[in-house]
């Protein structure tokens, strides 16, 4: 429609702003403004277009319009006519929505420009406001903050400390501090009983290491590297700066997004925080290298540590494995980059970060590597039994410094505390473990005959039984461990079963093994990567129950030849003996990946799964073993143990019976079947089984255990041995 020209007339309502009344008014569109005239006006009044104001922007489709003069005019004019609205809008452009919105945007855009300038200058001049603020914080405030952080990290985990470990740690720390320029004021290092492999620098100079880190590091140099890295963080006050930055960004984001949803705010803050973290990590790495060099500690350990982390499966306790390929989201710069940077450093003269004694002391900060079972009284559900006779030899669980971890297979029923070792259900017994683990392959597992269910996963002992011979994985109850040495054809028997007698957990004395170790070491002196020699030496170590040393050799061998399934297998058995079950599983996984038909590895893995109570996985393993090698009796026997732990007693009995039918002298099968019957309440059948066990010779590694347990159970059940 055409725009009305000057002279057009409209009617409206005019209010004077003094009362709520309104008068009809006639309006004429004039050149310079609106001409208004009410009935009692003697002359017209003019409202210039420039001065018109409407509280609502006048749109092109507005049906009516409400005007005043300037924003503070008292009179209001209302015209209910869309044509009029259009006229006014065309003559007074300041009434349009676009104009109004632009006015509203100006302050916002100005604010954005200011912020852009601010952020740009911080970035361009590399200012670090949060770090500057952090330095201004007084030390005691930082220390209090750090204490709060440590408390929240630790939750209910304890601090691990023995006088020896404390001294060792102090020695390492002061050596590193001496090489630090600008050391932080008050550095305190502590170890938390946490299986996670990680280390944290918290405000105030405290550094937290985890048990996982210390126990899974291959050498003290690795720990020194990580500690130096955390010192770097502390020197730069990254923890304090990080907190200040986070608070500042949160406050700013709250301001910016006042009223809108919180998710945008949080995402932005998190992403920014992460970016700063990555820069901080690079800085800390640089500091670490400098400190290590100044302290005369090799940087190889530092790199080794990262490579070790990389090699772990993602499901392990690795804290920076999660977002390998997503740099944006990860707080650690690609580990590969860091490793490369570290390895690229020139060599220099170095000595180990800690002496052997100190290193051992540090590794045992959280207690001896073999854990003493708690003295919980077993609750015996099904079977009543008299307290078991004292175990033949109940070695008091010495905090073993020896790596006898694996053997829990001690004939001994269980360390003293455990009353009814024999009680089937004895849960506690599970604990047996430790103390006596003893190499004795022959010695059967801990009493807990009841074993399995009772065995709490934490009881390593039962699980590992690896009697001396490497391979093997016995499982509680002496699950059959296949062969001992992988090398020669895996003999089914416990070839090198160490002496059966239960003995306190000490490294076995084995001159033959010593000779082999010496030979192998000579060979390795000329060629450190001689995997055959390494393997031989590792096996020898294992026979002496020195599984730490065995593991070290296997690890070196695997490094040199990662595709050798046997080496991986050996590594797995060493880990299993050390009760590092998750890693053992990983090693067996790797073995099976390289050699899918490796029955021993599958068998051992099944045992470990059983200890970890992953019964479905254990069943899968044993089913596969039985399917592919039905003559491998240990597989059937071990599967029976799994069934029994799952309380599928019928299936367990069936497996034990199958074992016996294939080998009438499989002593442990009788005993285990007897235990199963006992748990099912079939006392007579159980007695029969136990008696039968005693009539056959003690066969296989778990033969002696089978005899001892059978005798005990018979006594407990009040039956004669005949």
């Amino acid at each position: 429609m055409s725009m009305p020209s000057d002279g057009a007339r409209f009617t409206g309502l005019l209010s004077d702003g003094k009362t709520a009344g309104a008068k009809p008014v006639s309006i004429r569109i004039a050149g310079g403004g609106l001409e208004l005239r009410t009935d009692d006006d003697r002359k017209t009044r003019i409202w210039p277009y420039m001065e018109l104001f409407s509280s609502v922007p006048v749109r092109s489709d507005a049906p009516d319009v409400l005007l005043t003069q300037r924003a503070d005019g008292a009179e209001t004019l209302f015209v209910n006519n869309p044509t009029f609205a259009n006229v006014v809008r065309s003559r007074a452009p300041s009434l349009s929505p676009a104009h109004r919105r632009w006015q509203g945007l100006r302050p916002g855009l100005a604010a954005v420009a200011c912020v852009a300038v601010l952020v740009g200058s911080i970035w361009a001049f590399d200012l670090q406001p949060s770090q500057a603020l952090a330095r201004v914080m007084p030390q005691h405030a930082r220390a209090t903050l750090g204490d709060a952080v440590v408390t929240s990290l630790a939750k209910d985990r304890k601090v691990c400390e023995t006088p020896a470990s404390k001294a060792a740690l102090a020695r390492m720390t002061s050596r590193l501090l001496a090489a630090t320029s600008n050391p932080p004021a008050d550095v305190r290092v502590l170890v938390l009983d946490w299986p996670l492999v990680n280390a944290f620098a918290v405000p105030g100079g405290q550094i937290v290491l985890t048990r996982g880190l210390i126990q899974q590091a291959g050498s003290p140099d690795e720990v020194a590297g990580v500690l130096a890295h955390e010192l770097g963080h502390a020197v730069e006050m990254h923890p304090e700066a990080g907190i200040i930055r986070y608070m500042g960004l949160s406050a700013a984001a709250q301001l910016a997004f006042a009223g809108s949803s919180g998710t945008l705010t949080n995402a932005g803050v998190v992403l920014t925080t992460l970016r700063y973290s990555r820069v901080a990590e690079r800085d800390a790495d640089t500091h670490a290298l400098r400190i290590l060099k100044g302290a005369g500690i090799s940087h190889k350990g530092f790199a080794d540590f990262f490579e070790r982390l990389e090699g772990k499966p993602p499901a392990g306790q690795n804290s920076d494995g999660k977002f390998h390929d997503m740099s944006v989201l990860s707080t650690h710069p690609q580990t590969a980059e860091r490793i490369a940077m570290i390895r690229a450093q020139p060599e220099y003269a170095s000595t180990p970060a800690l002496s052997k004694e100190d290193w051992t002391a540090l590794r045992e900060a959280c207690g001896p590597l073999i854990r003493v079972p708690p003295a919980a009284p077993p609750t015996t559900p099904a079977v009543e039994k008299a307290p078991p006779p004292p175990a033949p030899t109940t070695p008091t669980p010495a905090p073993t410094r020896k790596r006898t971890a694996a053997n829990d297979a001690t004939a001994q029923p269980a360390p003293a505390p455990k009353p009814s070792a024999s009680s089937p259900p004895a849960p506690a017994s599970a604990s047996q473990p430790a103390p006596a683990p003893k190499p004795s392959a022959a010695s059967p597992p801990p009493s807990p005959a009841a074993g399995p269910p009772a065995t709490s996963p934490s009881t390593p002992a039962p699980a590992a039984k690896q009697p001396a011979a490497n391979p093997p994985a016995a499982s509680n109850e002496r699950p059959a461990s296949p062969a001992s040495t992988p090398a020669p054809a895996p003999p089914r028997t416990a070839a090198n079963a160490p002496a059966p007698a239960p003995t306190p957990p000490v490294p076995k004395i084995d001159p033959q093994a010593d000779r082999e170790i010496a030979e192998a070491s000579r060979a390795l002196a000329s060629d450190p990567k001689d995997t055959e020699a390494l393997q031989k030496r590792a096996r020898a170590h294992a026979r002496k129950n020195d599984y730490e040393a065995a593991l070290a050799d296997y690890v070196s061998a695997v490094e040199a030849k990662p595709q050798d399934a046997e080496l991986q297998y050996g590594r797995g058995t060493a880990l299993q003996n050390l009760r590092r079950y998750d890693e053992a599983i990983a090693a067996y996984d790797e073995t099976l990946r390289l050699a899918p038909g490796h029955t021993n590895a599958r068998n051992n893995r099944g045992n470990v799964n059983r200890v970890l109570k992953r019964y479905d996985a254990a069943l899968r393993d044993f089913d596969e073993v039985v399917r592919t090698q039905p003559e491998f009796l240990h597989g059937i026997y071990n599967r029976g143990l799994v069934y029994r732990e799952m309380t599928r007693f019928e299936d367990a009995v069936r497996d034990f019976t199958a074992t016996i039918s294939k080998d009438k002298s499989y002593t442990a099968a009788y005993t285990s079947r007897g235990i199963t019957h006992e748990r099912m309440g079939a006392r007579d059948k159980a007695i029969e089984d136990f008696r039968a066990a005693l009539t056959v010779p003690a066969k296989y590694r778990n033969g002696a255990w089978a005899h001892n347990t059978a005798r005990e159970r018979l006594r407990a059940l009040g039956a004669a041995a005949q």
């Binding site: 004077d16 009362t19 009344g21 609502v56 489709d61 209001t76 855009l109 949803s261």
Partner: protein, 370 residues
């Protein structure tokens, strides 16, 4: 045609105001989304201007005798209000919180208690001041609204009645509602005339009793239903796995969720039934210059309004919140009518001096005037 003689002699007549909603061209959805985007682009500063434009549009949809209400607030006033509250209240609280955490757990505990008391007090003040700001920026035919009375007095009543709620197991709620509404309404002005409010809490208690008992029964019934369904669908852990807890089978979890949803719906209907009664009763007891009001809210329509608004807000991630505000306002306006004639010429301009900044507290603590 000349109206001279009539205008001179006959006094302006009192007319019955006709209240209506005229939906603005363009609606609210587009504006709401645009505001959301601009707010993000300007790091939040545009929020205040966006809010203002939404209010301008909403106010102009409310018509008395076909003439719109006007909203005269500005974004600048809202921003100023917010900044002042941020600097004077929020920032010190943030620093105090940080400092208290440094001083140790006892100090932090004391700080937390103080924080909650301050928060409740300031909320009451915030509500009052926000209302005053909005009323003073509302005009019809050039006549301003207003809220007299002191914010502190209102806040005190707000606080002590709220503290008593748990101690009276909720029975103080109807009395509190009436008390607060009276405090606000009798101070509300249109021009120089105040509203009158003659409601008492008695008539509300009958319905409140039903709601109270109904809620109790609902809670018990829901709890029993959940326990029952869980028991049916319980899966025992394998014996011998020592620390495992029994879990519920997935199909039965769906059943539990359904029970909870049904319970929520029933509760919503109960509450809406009570709210409708409260709203209608309050409207009937409100008068301006002798003219009364009638509101025709019903429980089902209220439930529908609340639920749909909630869904709109959630599904649009808050970008369509202006639409929900307009819908709520339209709901009331469509159902509101006035009985009785008002002599407009007898209502003079509001004499209060204007606040120069608006709603900082309400903004900061996210409370609303209505």
């Amino acid at each position: 045609m000349s109206l001279v003689d009539q205008a001179a002699t006959s006094p302006p007549i009192a007319t019955v105001p006709h209240i209506s909603w005229v939906h603005p061209p363009g609606g609210f959805a587009g504006l709401s989304m645009l505001n959301g985007v601009l707010r993000i682009l300007t790091l939040g500063i545009y929020h205040f201007w966006g809010k203002t434009e939404v209010r301008q549009r909403m106010w102009s949809a409310i018509r008395i005798n076909g003439e719109p209400l006007e909203y005269r607030g500005t974004g600048g006033e809202l921003l100023r209000g917010f900044l002042i509250v941020f600097l004077v209240i929020l920032l010190p609280m943030l620093l105090a919180s940080f400092g208290a955490s440094l001083l140790g757990p006892a100090a932090y505990g004391a700080y937390s208690i103080a924080f909650w008391i301050v928060l409740l007090l300031l909320s009451g003040i915030g509500i009052h001041r926000a209302r005053r700001y909005r009323l003073s920026r509302t005009r019809w035919r050039g006549i301003r609204g207003g809220l007299s009375g002191s914010s502190a007095g209102f806040a005190w009543t707000y606080l002590w009645t709220m503290v008593l709620i748990p101690f009276t197991l909720g029975w103080i709620v109807p009395w509190r509602t009436v008390r607060l509404q009276r405090a606000l309404l009798e101070d509300t002005r249109f021009g120089d005339k105040a509203f009158t409010f003659t409601a008492t809490s008695g008539p509300l208690y009958k319905r409140f009793l039903v709601v109270w008992l109904g809620t109790l029964l609902l809670v018990i019934a829901t709890g029993a239903a959940i326990v029952g369904v869980s028991a049916l669908g319980l899966r025992q852990p394998l014996p011998g796995t020592p620390q495992a807890m029994p879990t519920v089978k997935p199909e039965y979890v769906a059943g539990i969720v359904a029970v909870v949803l049904v319970a929520l719906l029933a509760f919503a209907m109960l509450r809406a039934w009570y709210s409708a009664r409260v709203l209608n009763y309050f409207a009937a007891e409100t008068k301006l210059q002798g003219a009364g009001f009638t509101l025709n809210a019903t429980a089902p329509s209220l439930v529908w309004l609340t639920a749909s608004n909630y869904l709109i807000r959630i599904l649009s991630l808050g970008f369509l919140s202006a639409v929900t505000e307009a819908r709520s306002m339209r709901y009331i306006v469509d159902r509101l009518s006035c009985e009785g004639a008002i002599a407009w010429h007898e209502i003079g301009q509001n004499p209060d001096a204007l606040l120069k900044r608006g709603e900082g507290l309400a903004e900061a603590f996210n409370v609303d005037a209505f």
